[in-house]
């Protein structure tokens, strides 16, 4: 298990390759990557991600540990950035390795659902219309009831 919180960009391809390699007993690897998406108006200058430094690492480790306990997994990776990013930049990734695909998929979805609503990150959009704190969605909170 590795959990990394950092401001710098990460190399998604390299991380995915390293994670998926060297396991001889895991048949399935799932990755999820979150990317800064431009606004419908096409004028997002930047996405700024604030976090709670003392809490973030612990909160992510707790979520990753729970995934390892609930599913039959060989490994879990979480990388999440903070700071200022432009459209197309990768914000974060999770990866799961499991003997079977159902565990790898479910654990990755669980990680994402919890990361969305239980990890202390807040997104602020900087665009042509000024700035805007991204509101949490009811559907993201509702997604947690699945687990």
């Amino acid at each position: 298990m590795r959990v990394t919180v950092q401001e710098a960009p990460f190399d998604f391809g390299r991380e995915a390759e390293d994670f998926a390699s060297g396991h001889h007993d895991m048949g399935a690897v799932v990755t999820f990557t979150g990317i800064v998406r431009d606004l419908a108006t096409g004028d997002l200058d930047a996405m700024e991600i604030e976090h709670y430094p003392g809490m973030t690492q612990k909160a992510l480790e707790k979520i990753a540990t729970e995934a390892l306990e609930r599913w039959s997994l060989g490994d879990v990776l979480v990388i999440h950035r903070y700071g200022r990013m432009t459209p197309g930049e990768k914000i974060m990734m999770v990866a799961t390795a499991a003997p079977h695909r159902v565990d790898a998929f479910e654990a990755a979805e669980f990680l994402m659902d919890y990361l969305k609503s239980r990890a202390p990150f807040w997104k602020k959009e900087h665009g042509g219309q000024g700035t805007n704190w991204v509101a949490a969605k009811d559907e993201d909170e509702a997604a947690l009831t699945r687990w």
């Binding site: 914000i91 239980r118 509101a135």
Partner: protein, 81 residues
């Protein structure tokens, strides 16, 4: 104890962190105490359903005890991922 604010809560309160001397026993008591101090707190805490709280860096709710706590943080619902 240290009281921390994040995102728009931080912007409304005007500081990211402050030292608060209080005898409040729960998060809700602390909120009431802060609201009675200045209008910016009253504005920031006007709708608690729009807020989340962590005590000593663990998510909890407004009924939680803060006795002996070192750090209480207020923020909007999180938007990670």
């Amino acid at each position: 104890m240290d009281v921390l604010y994040f995102a728009w809560v931080r912007e409304r309160i005007g500081v990211p962190k402050e030292r608060v001397e209080t005898s409040a026993k729960t998060v809700a008591d602390l909120v009431e105490e802060l609201k009675s101090r200045e209008e910016r707190y009253e504005v920031a805490f006007s709708d608690l359903s729009a807020l989340r709280v962590a005590v000593d860096q663990d998510l909890t709710d407004f009924d939680a005890s803060i006795e002996g706590a070192r750090e209480v943080a207020f923020f909007p619902p999180m938007t990670g991922g």
